[in-house]
Amino acid sequence: MVDYIWIVIALPLAGAVFLHFFGSRLREPIAGVIATSTVGLSFFYALIAAADFFSGTGEAETVHLFDWIPTLGANAELLWDPLSAVMTLTVTGVGALIHLYSIGYMHGDPRFGRFFTGLNFFTASMLILVLADNFGALFVGWELVGLSSYLLISFWFQKPSAAAAGKKAFIVNRIGDVGFLIGLMLILANFNTLTYGTVLADPARFVTAGTATAITLLLLLGAAGKSAQIPLYFWLPDAMEGPTPVSALIHAATMVTAGVYMVARTASLFELSGFAAATVATVGAFTALFAATIALMQRDIKRVLAFSTISQLGYMFLAVGTGAYVAGIFHLFTHAFFKALLFLGSGSVIHAMGDEQDMAKMGGLAKVMPVTHLTMVIGWLAIIGIPPLAGFWSKDEILALAFGAGGWFTFLWVLGIITALLTAVYMTRWMYLTFWGEARWDDGVDPHESPAVMTLPLVGLAVGSAAFGLLNTPFHGPFKPAFEHFLEPSFEAIEMAHLPSGSTPWFLALISIAAAAGGALFAYRRYQGAEAFDTAPVAAKRTGVWRWVTNGYYVDDIIGNLLVLPGKLVAAWTAFVLDTEIIDGSVRAIGGGVRRISGWLRPVQTGFVRNYAVVTFAGVVGLLVWFVSQGAG
């Protein structure tokens, strides 16, 4: 089975190639069915291939496909170990459900086939990323997901905002990629190879802690770009311009987790450099809090979820920075379910409301969309961390491990708890404004429940969100920490963070449950019976600090004026001064000079044949003069 693991990549890739050429000629549902079944088959293949890991007998295997750049240690080789298996299963499993959902969501779109080409292409790229056995192949996947993300964000390219959002995502990712690429060059310079096996087995043999810090900080820059962490987070909210399934698949469940996966994969390097690991955790914790505050004030149903995604990714970074790799990957895993669920649910709402995304014009949808509402309740409880749903187990484990790490990490734990509180507030607000309270629909909007092809994935993801948290509870007893056990082979060489001893974990869990419940209760009471409707979570006027928060701390404006504007000015100078004046000018000057010299010579051409004949005859005489002067006479 494992020897042919490349089939997992080949299936969606073949689907993408096929749909690229024939997708537009197929009748509507067929392209979607083909795309969905390729990803579904990949999922089942991966599930069977991972069977040995479930039973605890499996070992990491490397599958060599063909030589690519052998001198750099970058060959087409796939690594099949528990970590890549988890990632593969998440990508294909959640991906298949989202593909299925898209059949309903993209109904009637004139470029239906092309959309599934993009989804399949993305899935194949992401699988290359997670299955790569060396940094070279990882980088290939890394860039391919960036490309497919760009293509899908600006899928409705006729909308200028979508085109701009795709461009923004691509460029911001490129900035991170520069750091990532330099990091890879440093790895190559120090290790002489890009293969995981050599680089990650015992990096201390090759590099000092200082070099490891340099490498890992550069890798972190790439991870921050891909996973939307400070300082490169601001592309993700705009990426919501893409179709909602794209937001769910790429910008919530899979692609944005690439940074977390990469940090977890290079755990031994980060471990070597304590400073870099602490930086990862700090970046994560601050991003989590920062994004959560912005999410409080958003009115767009998808932008709330976008900032929520950034915030949750911050948790994952906090985890992998603390050394809680299993917890980080576990949160990645559960988050993929409940965030995909929430996104697909919001897509269902948007679909029902006739492409309305402003939550101020929703409300009271619970009655007309019972299935969507019910699954959203599960997603809501999961993300704010109410036991026994998935989000509680993974988030609480991260927070407990951060607390257990002590020192600076205790402060990060405080940030995490505050974030948990804010998460409960903004998600409850999201639920209330959308599903509960009075209906504030525009005239002529007639919401309806979505078709089964859309609600079915919602139910599937809701089940996952509800149940999969139990895979890794800290309690031994009826449920064993299966997930940790499963991932153990991937991290056996790594020193993992430990839970605090004694009753402390119980106490910590109580604190986070209290934070979640308190936040939810506060938000619910805030909106219940509010008379003049106000979307702000507290009854403050939209002044002062709340204006800052509403506008995302004006980060977009600051970047726009500080970085983009000078760039545009330089571009304008290049285009309108350097190019037109200097380059074109020099060309024109050469042409004009020739023309002027020609002007002086023009009178020579009198047009009279006899003038020319005189000149010819003078030439003959001149030849004779030359002969005579040469002594012919």
Binding site: R610, N611, V614, V621, L624, V625, F627, V628, A632, G633
Partner: protein, 173 residues
Amino acid sequence: MVELVLFIVFGLIAVAGALSMVLHPNPVYGALGLMATMLSIAVFYVVNSGHFIAAVQVVVYAGAVMTLFLFVIMLIGVDRAENLEERLPMQRQLAIGLGVAFLVLIGLIGGNAWITAPASASEPNGSVEAIADLIFTDWLLPFEVTTLLLIIASVGAVALAQFSPRRRGGAEE
């Protein structure tokens, strides 16, 4: 002695014919003068043992070409006197100055011994056989090319004389 007489007589005729061609305002007289020059040159060919060339000179040049010239002169109706007044600035002075310079330079070159010295080699045989012998051996390829040239020239002449631009435009002349 005979050659000296011939040279003086026909040399004078040739120069006189050439001068009348250049100086006479009426091209018909010019054409006749040129014909006289060509016939004298044919005589010089004979003297220089170019019998075949002389015959060709009489038939082609003095006969065909000059007849063609006269024919065209009659056809386009320019058998009138031409205004010999010069309008291009410096043209006449330059032309005369260059001509004089040319003759002076030729005279300088003419001082060379090998040209003024008596002929050393035996007289060449300018018979038809001898010429044909050369043309069809050493000069075969140029000879064939000239046939091509003549065909192209005759076709081109027909094309040029046949179609006038106005007629090509569709309007009747």
